[in-house]
Amino acid sequence: MDLIIEGIRKASLLIYTLDAELMGIVLLSLKVSLTALSVGAILGVPAGALICLKNRFPLRHFVLNILNTAMGLPPVVVGLFLYLMLSRRGPLGFMGILYTAPAMIIAQSILAFPIVASLSYAAIGSVPPIIRQAALTLGATSYQSAMAIVKEARYGIISGVMAAFGRLSAEVGAVLIVGGNIAGRTRVITSAIVLETDKGDFSQAIALGIVLLGISFCVNIALYFFSRRGNAAGYRYWV
């Protein structure tokens, strides 16, 4: 118990003094996860919208099943797959990005895409058809009516993006494999916690854990806010 209390005391000091190493790790984590999230959202939201709104989308249910399965992709499997692709002998080895931040971003983008696409699909699919009809009666083209639906689903879509961010920020398997946990270059919060725990430096590990919990808490607050905004609209969609 003393070990934990002492760890928390030292961790508080590290956070309070904005320890340079700690801040470097936190900032790199945010940079990697937010960039990956942006890539996942830029590709995932239109993909979800397309699957949901395009008439006669080929193999819709098959694609959805793939996406739903991919939502639960084990990060270590993604990491292993990407490692094999990016290693010197792999088909993408010529890029020379293994053990760099871009490799970590690619890995996390792969994890984010199905979450964003699938939850965007669900959010867009929950918008009542009356919204599309209302847009059409007011002179919208097919594209404009689709955009009206996507706009109505925005809180659900944002919730999906936030959920994906929650997963990325807590993910360790993929970034550890393709990033290599190199100090100052590819060491992020989760991989640093693993390392510091192995080393027995619990104060640094606890400090990073507290920051990670703080990020997770903020994500959940945002999720709660957006889901409430979405629900507030939902009860009157039919009117």
Partner: protein, 215 residues
């Protein structure tokens, strides 16, 4: 008075059930038409076909001397609008809801603001423009739907059961608005209703839909 919409031989079936069986009528601008009939008579279907939301199985819808029933130009479709019984509220402010049709038509900001204010005044929602539209009452929502249709100055305005989902007070308000806009909007206004008294008061012509045809 001028010809705006000529419907001839309109037929529509759903899963083998004939809903419209050769509906024909000629609607002219400046007049109010009420379409009556029992539940399931095909009033809403007729309106949805004429508003080009659905395609008929057979028949023609001529608008400005052009058959628009199967293929239509966007500019022609934008002259026709339908206020659905369930308005379909966008989760934005009342102002943005009313301005939606103008935004689609890329009307500039100053003109949009003026048009929206005018329409909001007509329907009595001028003091609620900044409110979130989803917080309006049913009667206010219906009036917002009317304003949303009015701002685009349609040549043909369809109103599907405009007073069905509102209380008596709101019903009277909506009826007054319909009567007022008849004078300002040089459009053919076609409303479907179960309310015989509303039809008598508001409409110049009352049509009854029976067995898929006007009688």
């Amino acid at each position: 008075m001028g010809l705006t919409l000529n419907v001839s031989g309109l037929k529509k079936s759903y899963a083998g059930t004939v809903v419209l069986d050769g509906c024909s009528y000629r609607f002219e601008s400046g007049s109010v038409y009420a379409i009556m009939g029992p539940n399931g008579a095909g009033k809403s279907t007729f309106l949805r076909l004429c508003a080009l939301l659905e395609r008929p199985d057979e028949g023609k819808i001529d608008f400005l001397d052009e058959d628009v029933s199967l293929e239509h130009d966007l500019s022609l479709r934008r002259c026709i609008t339908l206020l659905l019984p369930a308005v379909g509220v966008f989760n934005t402010s009342v102002y943005e809801n009313i301005a939606y049709g103008l935004k689609l038509r890329k009307v500039n900001k100053a003109e949009t603001e003026e048009t929206v204010l005018n329409a909001a005044e007509i329907v009595g929602l001028k003091d609620k423009l900044r409110r979130r539209a989803v917080t309006l009452s049913s009667g206010e929502t219906q009036r917002m739907g009317l304003a949303r249709a009015l701002v685009i100055s349609p040549s043909v305005l369809f109103l599907d059961e405009p007073t069905a989902a509102v209380d008596a007070g709101s019903s009277i308000a909506i009826e007054e608005i319909i009567q007022n806009i008849t004078h300002t909007l040089n459009a053919a206004i076609i409303l479907s209703t179960h309310d015989r008294e509303l039809a008598d008061r508001a409409a110049d012509v009352i049509l009854t839909l029976r067995n898929g045809r006007f009688s």
